[in-house]
């Protein structure tokens, strides 16, 4: 079982330990957090020094975000086997056409697992087959598997669902822990949160308040607390399934940065 550490901020390189064999670097949810070329080089150099394999993580992007990714591809292509996590069909399409040599990983925004924790509230009220449905996702379809394989996808990224996971393990998978994302937005709630003078809902210019604030959200109808980090809400599930190999999971991705940020909230 390969163990990776996920960070998006170079300040958190210190969270990588000798347990980790791979560095995941980059933001999954926000294009404003994309690293610069020099930051990417620094992360790559760190990985080289520590003999870590390297994965660049990319978010969903607008056309502006696609432009901002361009210099990163140029840095990355000099690296041996530079794996890229894609969370945007456009990025996947672009890389397939322009950098077919990159091994690609389907990010958790595109794996379409059913994550909402309130499913636990209705577990006893739905047919058994439904529960099975909520544990699965569209990647079990051979049509989809073949298509993704043609598009250069070699692996898929999964969250550790509260209701458990079932899948047909044709494509190798990674499991993120201990946090699962539930939802994300471009109308970032954290933006200007300590000095709200703008409309509540809009796409703001970013001042990276997400690197300063974390929020814990609790409600009697939400079975588990939610954690709001920047534009994304997560829940925690530290119970890793015992049958990882049956699920085709051969990599664990530890969200060391979130663990560090969310620590005071727990």
């Amino acid at each position: 079982m390969e163990k990776a550490a996920l960070i998006s901020n170079l300040d958190n390189l210190s969270l990588i330990t000798s347990q980790h064999q791979r560095l995941y670097f980059g933001p999954e949810f926000c294009q404003y957090l994309l690293p610069s070329s020099s930051e990417l080089r620094e992360a790559l150099n760190f990985a080289r020094q520590k003999r870590l394999s390297f994965t660049l993580v990319t978010p969903f992007v607008t056309d502006e975000g696609l432009k901002n990714l361009t210099p990163l591809w140029k840095v990355l292509k000099d690296w041996k086997k530079p794996e890229v996590v894609v969370n945007d069909w456009g990025v996947l399409s672009f890389l397939r056409e322009n950098y077919p040599e990159f091994p690609l990983v389907l990010g958790r925004l595109l794996s379409k697992q059913k994550r909402g924790p309130r499913l636990l509230n209705i577990k006893d009220r739905i047919p058994r087959e439904m529960w099975d449905h909520f544990q699965r996702f569209y990647l079990d379809l051979p049509l989809v598997q073949n298509f993704l394989s043609q598009m250069g996808i070699r692996r898929v990224e999964l969250d550790n669902l509260l209701q458990g996971i079932k899948r047909e393990p044709k494509i190798p998978a990674s499991l993120y822990y201990p946090y699962a994302y539930v939802t994300t937005t471009r109308m970032c709630l954290t933006n200007a949160c300590d000095q709200r003078t703008q409309p509540l809902r809009s796409i703001f210019s970013c001042r990276k308040e997400c690197r300063v604030y974390t929020f814990k959200l609790t409600h009697r109808n939400m079975p588990v607390p939610l954690f709001l980090k920047g534009n994304t809400q997560f829940f925690k599930n530290k119970r890793i399934p015992s049958h990882l190999s049956e699920l085709g999971i051969d990599r664990l991705v530890q969200e060391v940065e979130y663990e560090s940020d969310f620590y005071p909230a727990q």
């Binding site: 099975d132 300590d194 709200r196 109808n221």
Partner: protein, 363 residues
């Protein structure tokens, strides 16, 4: 630009068309589907019975009525499905096609590939659930047979204008009224409709009667102090996950953040989670720029809204587009829209906008 209106019962079809709707869209949540998969795994992203037609017979009636006025009907099959659902999904697709619908709204990659593999010839509209944020994603879906792209809510006006201008040979559609979700539809994995399962058919009653719409309408007219207090009432504590009145606790690892800032941040986040965040936004002022950019269709959200509300929405859009056809200045158009809004809904828009920002188009 075409006005695309929602339908959830055959009897509202003619009135919507007479009011100005040029395209209609709907979904079907049949008893057989619901029995097997419950409403939570609805085949079309609207998990409430009240948002849907009850069966394909009703869809057939909708299609026949609409076609008698030369108005196309678009069927939503835009959930994310699992392999288990395919037998039932194939049936839904087959029965939907038999009714003569003119296009499908699709979000799921598997269903797109299935339709392509089976050689089914029908225009495919990529749902907002397809998360199309850039031109390369449009290209991705075009290769899979898409004829129309439905943009996500989470775009600024300049971004919409740019992506619509760049998109050649494919229709572009944007939401224009109602249901401004704070999360990105295709990336949000909260389930709707959980309460319908939890509380049973009684939960359907307020939605079927359009009470949620009327409640928000009342809240909107109250002074903000009072509406804010009502919207936090525990009475509404079991609605959608994005409206829950969470207890919010802020944390910071930075020594520069004092208690005062933490409390301000908590209050700010807390303010975004309550019933008021469900107030219906409006993007009609932006039609001026959308039209110049080449937008094909503008969609009214709210399949479960009462017919009276749908009619108001269609008439408001029709009047705005009629005024736009006389080539007014942008300022005159915005003034017209704001006044028309007040006349149509009997309260000012309050600048609760669907989209923000101004494009750099040189008009």
């Amino acid at each position: 630009m075409k006005i695309l209106a929602p339908v959830n019962k055959p009897r509202e079809v003619e009135s919507l068309i007479v009011a100005g709707a040029q395209e209609l869209y709907c979904g079907v949540l049949s008893a057989s589907w619901k029995k097997k998969y419950t409403n939570v795994a609805s085949p079309n992203r609207r998990e409430w019975k009240a948002s849907n037609l009850n069966d394909h017979q009703e869809l057939k009636e909708v299609v026949a009525l609409a076609h008698s006025h030369n108005v196309p009907v678009i069927l939503a099959l835009n959930a994310f499905y699992t392999k288990l659902q395919y037998p039932a999904l194939e049936k839904q697709l087959e029965e939907g096609l038999k009714t003569g619908v003119d296009a499908l709204i699709v979000a799921d990659l598997g269903l797109l590939l299935y339709i392509k593999e089976r050689g089914i010839k029908i225009p495919l509209h990529i749902s907002t659930g397809g998360t199309i944020f850039n031109s390369w994603t449009i290209r991705f879906y075009r290769k899979l047979g898409a004829s129309r792209i439905i943009l996500p809510r989470h775009f600024s006006v300049p971004e919409i204008v740019e992506i619509v201008q760049k998109a050649k040979g494919i229709e572009m559609e944007s939401f224009i009224l109602n249901r401004g979700c704070k999360n990105i539809d295709g990336f949000c994995t909260f389930q709707h409709g959980v309460n319908e399962v939890r509380w049973g058919p009684i939960w359907n009653i307020p939605k079927s009667l359009g009470l949620d719409y009327y409640l928000l309408n009342v809240l909107r007219r109250l002074p903000s102090r009072i509406s804010s207090s009502i919207s936090r009432s525990s009475l509404f504590g079991s609605v959608g996950a994005c409206f829950l009145n969470y207890e919010v606790k802020a944390f910071s690892s930075s020594a520069k953040i004092d208690e005062e800032k933490l409390r301000a941040a908590e209050k700010s986040i807390s303010n975004t989670f309550n019933l008021l965040s469900g107030l219906d936004p409006c993007g009609v002022c932006q039609l001026y720029e959308f039209q110049k950019a080449g937008m094909h269709s503008i969609k009214i959200i709210g399949r479960s809204n009462p017919t009276s509300k749908k009619l108001k929405d269609v008439k408001f859009l029709k009047a705005s587009l009629d005024f736009l056809s006389h080539e007014p200045s942008q300022e005159d158009f915005v003034n017209f829209v704001k006044e028309k809004y007040r006349q149509s809904y009997h309260f000012p828009c309050g600048e609760l906008c669907y989209y923000y920002g101004k494009s750099s188009l040189n008009f």
